[in-house]
C-alpha cells in the first residue's frame, strides 16, 4: 500500500476495486465502513459480484469480467474532458501525460458501456465522484491482478490516481491489499526471481558484488530466474528437475491443476517443508516438518509495509523445526555454512543488506511495528509513500489500450467463472479447515449462481452440479445468490476435493506472470 490502513479513514472518497474486503480483509473493511458510516466518506465499489460492501456504497459499478482497463480509461476520459484533473500535480510530478490523454480519447462513456456493460451515465458519475474529492483512496485486490491484463489494470489505477493528484497525500493512494499474511515480506525478502531483499535487482553487478561480499561467496547468478508459473510447465517438459517447496500448496492454488499435477509427477526430486502433509506434500520424496507461526520468533510485514513481530507462544509438536533452521541445515550439508543462533540474528543480516529495512530493529518494533522504508535507526518509518517524489523521480503515465480476456464464452461453454475466497476459510484451507467451527460455518465448496442463470440452466438451489471448463471438471453444490451477476458464477478455491483450479486458465499476464484466475468459460450440468 502507498498509504496506511488507518489512513483510509481520512479519505473523502474510497474506491474499492476487485476486493471482497469484508471477507478477505475483514478488519481493514471496518475502517472503510466506519469512514462511510460515521465520517461521510463516499464509497465507490467496482465488482462483478454484489459483495457486502455494495450495501455501503454510494455507487456500485458492475463491469463485465476482464474489462477493467476499459472502465478505468473511461473514467479518465471523463475527468480530462470535464477538466477535473490535477494540472499542477501532473505538471510537477509526472511525465507522458499527452500519451495517456490521446489513448483515453476514444474511451467515451458510450464506447466503454459497450465493452464493460456499465451504463455510460455511471461512468460519468463515478469519474466526477472520484475526481471531485479532496483525497480519494483506491483499494484493490486479486480481482484486478488475477487477469492476463493484471499488470495493465494496476498501471491503469496508478494512472487514475496520478491524474487526480491522489498520490503522496493522506487519505489517497493506490493500495493493493495483500491476500496472504506475509506476501509483502516474502517480496521484500527477495522471494522473487529478479530481486534480492528490498527489490535490489539481481542483474545489477554492483548489487551482486555487495551480496557476494556480505555472504562471503562469488559467482552469484546474473540472469533473472523463473516465476512459479513458468517453472511448473518447465517441470512438465523436463527442463526443471527438482523443487524445494516451503509452506506452499501449489497443487490446490495453481491454475489448471490437472496440468500442474503432471508437472510435479515428472520431477526427479521434490522436497516439501510444511506443517501438514498437503496435497503437494503427498507427491514429495522428502517431507520436512516445520514450526507454525505460534511456535517461532520472527517478523511479518503487513500490507501497509509495517514490519511486525511474531513471538513463540507454544512449543512445536514433536521434532518440527523453524523453516530457517531447516534451510540452513541443508545449506550446511551442501558445503555452505549458514549458522544462525536465532531469528533476530537473521534479521540483523537482513538490515545490513537491505537499505529499506536498515533502521528497523527488534527493539524498535517491540511494542508497535514500523513502516519501511526506514533507512536508519533515527528514521521514523514511512507511513505514506511518494509524498515528495516517486521512487524514480517523476511518475510516468502509461497509455494502455483495452485487450479482451484470454478466454471468452461460446455456445459450448456459455458462462464465465470467477474464483475467490470466503470469510471462513483461507487460501488452500490447510489451516482453516482444521478448525471445526470454521468448517461448521462453511463446510464445503459451492457454485454461486444468479436466480436468472439457475432458471436458464435448470439448476436447483442446493443440488449437486458438474462444472466443466476446457481443462477439467468438478462437482459442487449450487447456491442461488443475489451476490451473483447473471452470466457469471463464482467458486471459492479453498476446497481441495473440489478444487476450482481444475477449471481455471493458466494463461499468464505477460509481465507479472499471474494467471487468469478470474476469467474462464464453463458449462453446467446436473450431477444428481
Amino acid at each position: 500500500m502507498t498509504n496506511t490502513i488507518g489512513d483510509i479513514g481520512d479519505a473523502d472518497v474510497i474506491m474499492v476495486v476487485g476486493s471482497n474486503t469484508t471477507e478477505n480483509h475483514p478488519v481493514l473493511s471496518t475502517v472503510v465502513k466506519r469512514a462511510v458510516k460515521y465520517k461521510n466518506a463516499k464509497l465507490l465499489v467496482v465488482d462483478p459480484r454484489q459483495i457486502k460492501l455494495t450495501k455501503f456504497a454510494d455507487l456500485w459499478l458492475r463491469p463485465n469480467l476482464g474489462s477493467d482497463v476499459a472502465w478505468i480509461n473511461g473514467l479518465m476520459h471523463v475527468i480530462i474532458a470535464e477538466n477535473l484533473h490535477d494540472k499542477a500535480f501532473i505538471e510537477k510530478r509526472t511525465n507522458d501525460f499527452e500519451g495517456l490523454k490521446s489513448m483515453v480519447e476514444k474511451f467515451t462513456p458510450d464506447y466503454v458501456e459497450k465493452i464493460t456493460g456499465i451504463a455510460a451515465q455511471q461512468i460519468i458519475d463515478a469519474a466526477r465522484l472520484y475526481a471531485n474529492a479532496g483525497a480519494s483512496a483506491i483499494l484493490y485486490c486479486m480481482g484486478i491482478t488475477q487477469h492476463t491484463t493484471g499488470t495493465d489494470n494496476v498501471k491503469s489505477l496508478a494512472n487514475l490516481s496520478m491524474l487526480c493528484g491522489n498520490l503522496g497525500i493522506p487519505g489517497g493512494g493506490v493500495n493493493p491489499l495483500r491476500g496472504q499474511n506475509n506476501v509483502q515480506g516474502a517480496c521484500d525478502m527477495g522471494g522473487l526471481p529478479n530481486v534480492y531483499t528490498g527489490y535490489q535487482p539481481v542483474t545489477d553487478a554492483a548489487v551482486r558484488k555487495k551480496m557476494e561480499d556480505a555472504w562471503g561467496i562469488t559467482g552469484l547468478p546474473e540472469k533473472n530466474g523463473l516465476t512459479v508459473t513458468k517453472m511448473v510447465p518447465m517441470a512438465h517438459d523436463g527442463d526443471i528437475k527438482a523443487f524445494y517447496i516451503i509452506g506452499e500448496n501449489p497443487l490446490v492454488s495453481d491454475p489448471d491443476l490437472n496440468h500442474a499435477e503432471k508437472s510435479f509427477a515428472n520431477l526427479d526430486f521434490l522436497v516439501v517443508q510444511d506443517i501438514f502433509v498437503t496435497e503437494t506434500g503427498k507427491m514429495a520424496d522428502v517431507i520436512l516438518p516445520a514450526t507454525c507461526f505460534a511456535e517461532k520468533d520472527g517478523t511479518f510485514t503487513n500490507t501497509e509495509r509495517r514490519v511486525q513481530r511474531i513471538r513463540k507462544a507454544v512449543d512445536a509438536p514433536g521434532d518440527a523445526w523453524d523453516d530457517w533452521k531447516i534451510t540452513s541445515e541443508i545449506a550446511k550439508r551442501m558445503g555452505y555454512p549458514m549458522a544462525y543462533k536465532n531469528a533476530q540474528e537473521i534479521f540483523e543480516e537482513i538490515r545490513e543488506v537491505t537499505p529499506s529495512y536498515a533502521g528497523v530493529t527488534y527493539e524498535r518494533i517491540e511494542r508497535q511495528g514500523l513502516h519501511w522504508p526506514c533507512p536508519s535507526q533515527e528514521h521514523p518509518g514511512t507511513p505514506i509513500l511518494h509524498t515528495r517524489q516517486f521512487t524514480r523521480g517523476k511518475g510516468v503515465f502509461h497509455a494502455i489500450d483495452y485487450i479482451a480476456p484470454a478466454e471468452t464464452v461460446d455456445d459450448e461453454y456459455p458462462l464465465y467463472l470467477t474464483t475467490g475466497r470466503v470469510l471462513y476459510h483461507y487460501h488452500t484451507g490447510t489451516m482453516t479447515r482444521r478448525t471445526d467451527g470454521l468448517n461448521e460455518r462453511a463446510p464445503e465448496s459451492f457454485v454461486e449462481i444468479s436466480a436468472k442463470d439457475a432458471e436458464k440452466f435448470g439448476v436447483e438451489d442446493g443440488s449437486p452440479i458438474n462444472v466443466a471448463s476446457r481443462r477439467g471438471q468438478i462437482t459442487v453444490r449450487a447456491t442461488i445468490s443475489e451476490q451473483a451477476v447473471s452470466g457469471t458464477v463464482f467458486i471459492p478455491f479453498h476446497f481441495a476435493e473440489a478444487a476450482a483450479n481444475r477449471l481455471t486458465n493458466a494463461a499468464l499476464d505477460p509481465v507479472s506472470n499471474i494467471p487468469e484466475f478470474k476469467v474462464c468459460a464453463i458449462k453446467l450440468s446436473s450431477a444428481a
Partner: protein, 376 residues
C-alpha cells in the same frame, strides 16, 4: 493553548479542549472514574450510570462519559453522594441474573439454592466464566458491594450455545450495550441491537434470531467488549486469566497483520484476543484471526521428517532426511545445472524464513529460480 479552558476536578484545575467530556478530562489527568458501558471509539450512551459524578450547583448527578466539560465546572468524582449512587447501581446489577461469584452475598441463606440453580443453567459446577476477569466483579470489590435478594431471580432467556464460537448468556447480561456499540460502531456489522422493553429488554440479533442465523460474522468484537460473563468464547469458557500467559504476536491469515494476544495454558493456545493498544487493528479481529487457531494443535501436524520409499512415507531422522535432500539437490545441480532446480518460498512464513530460503537459493544452489505463490 488558546482553545483550552479550565475545569476543577476534585479540587484541582485542569485545562480542557472544547468537546471533551468530563470523563475525557479526568482520564487525561489520571483521575480514575469507573465506567462500564462506555466503549472507546464509540459514541457514549450514558446507559449504566456507573460513571456518575457530582457537579457543584446541580442537584442530579451526571454521567461523566456523555457530559461535556464546561468552563468553570466544579466536579467531584468520589463524593459520598457519588459513591452511594454507584453502590446502588452495582448492587442492582448484581441482583439480577446469574452473578454467582462470591461477591454476591454468600452469607444469605438461599445462597446454596441459588448456586445450584446457576450450575444447572450453566451445565457446569464452575463459577461464572468471567470470574477474575469481570468489570462488575472488580467494581463490586472496589466499592464493597454485594448483591441481595436473589431468591426471585428468574432466568428469562435461556443460554444460547447454538454456534461454534460464542456463548450468549442472557442471565449475566447487564444490558450495558457495549456489544451493540462494538458490533455497530467499530466493526459496522450491524448484527445486534437492543430489543424488547422494560423487564424484557434483551440484546437481539436481527428480529431475535440465533446468532448463527443472523447477520453476525463471528468477529467476536462483542465478546471482547463485554465487561461481564454474558458473551464468552465457547472454547475458552472457563479458562481463568491467572492460569494463562499472554504472548503478543501477529495474526497469520491475511495481510492486514492484526496484532493479537495468545492466551496460553499448559503449552496450548486456549484463546486469542485483539491487542487493543496498537495499530493496525486496535483490538479488532475477524473470525479467522480470533477463532481459527485449532490447526496449531491439530493431531495431524507433522512431527518428524518423512521419506518416501516404494510409494509410501516412512519416518526418518533429521540427519537422514537432510542428508538425502542435500545429496539429491547436489546431484541434480551437477548433472543438469543450477537452473534445473526451483525453490518456492512462502507468503506464510516469516521474513527471516524467507531470507534464509532466498540466500540458500542464490548463494548455495546458485540459481535465481525462487518465487512464491503471492501471485496466486
Amino acid at each position: 493553548m488558546e482553545n483550552q479552558k479550565p475545569i476543577v476536578i476534585n479540587g484541582n484545575r485542569f485545562n480542557f479542549t472544547e468537546g471533551d467530556t468530563i470523563l475525557d478530562v479526568a482520564r487525561q489527568n489520571n483521575i480514575e472514574i469507573p465506567t462500564l458501558c462506555h466503549l472507546k471509539g464509540t459514541t457514549p450512551t450514558g446507559t449504566c450510570r456507573v460513571c456518575v459524578v457530582e457537579i457543584a450547583g446541580q442537584e442530579d448527578l451526571v454521567t461523566s462519559c456523555d457530559t461535556k466539560a464546561v468552563e468553570g465546572m466544579i466536579v467531584q468524582t468520589e463524593s459520598s453522594r457519588v459513591v452511594a449512587s454507584r453502590k446502588q447501581t452495582i448492587k442492582n446489577m448484581l441482583s439480577m441474573g446469574n452473578h454467582n461469584c462470591a461477591v454476591r452475598a454468600p452469607h444469605e441463606e438461599s445462597w446454596t439454592q441459588y448456586q445450584l440453580k446457576v450450575h444447572a443453567e450453566d451445565k457446569s459446577p464452575e463459577l461464572c466464566p468471567a470470574w477474575g476477569d469481570c468489570r462488575l466483579q472488580d467494581l463490586a470489590y472496589h466499592y464493597q458491594v454485594s448483591g441481595s435478594d436473589y431468591s426471585n431471580v428468574e432466568t428469562l432467556y435461556p443460554m444460547e450455545m447454538a454456534n461454534p464460537f460464542i456463548i450468549r448468556d442472557f442471565s449475566r447480561c447487564i444490558l450495558c450495550g457495549r456489544c451493540v456499540k462494538a458490533c455497530n460502531e467499530i466493526q459496522v456489522n450491524n448484527a445486534i441491537e437492543f430489543g424488547y422493553d422494560g423487564d424484557k429488554k434483551k440484546i437481539v440479533a436481527g428480529d431475535d434470531k440465533l446468532l448463527k442465523d443472523s447477520d453476525c460474522v463471528f468477529c467476536g468484537e462483542c465478546v471482547q467488549a463485554c465487561p461481564v460473563g454474558a458473551l464468552v468464547p465457547k472454547d475458552a469458557r472457563f479458562d481463568r486469566p491467572w492460569e494463562t500467559e499472554k504472548v503478543r504476536s501477529t495474526c497469520s491469515y491475511c495481510g492486514v497483520g492484526c496484532q493479537i494476544d495468545f492466551h496460553v495454558k499448559d503449552n496450548q493456545i486456549v484463546k486469542i484476543t485483539g491487542a487493543e493498544d496498537t495499530a493496525p487493528n486496535y483490538g479488532s479481529l475477524c473470525v479467522k484471526g480470533r477463532f481459527g487457531f485449532q490447526f496449531v494443535h491439530a493431531k495431524d501436524r507433522l512431527t518428524t521428517p518423512l521419506i518416501k520409499e516404494n510409494g509410501e512415507f516412512r519416518e526418518a531422522s533429521w540427519d537422514e532426511a537432510l542428508d538425502l535432500t542435500a545429496k539429491r539437490l547436489s546431484e541434480i545441480k551437477d548433472a543438469h545445472g543450477a537452473d534445473s532446480i526451483g525453490v518456492f518460498t512462502s507468503a506464510r512464513v516469516s521474513n527471516e524464513d524467507n531470507y534464509a530460503a532466498m540466500k540458500f537459493t542464490r548463494a548455495v544452489l546458485k540459481t535465481n529460480n525462487i518465487d512464491h505463490c503471492a501471485r496466486l
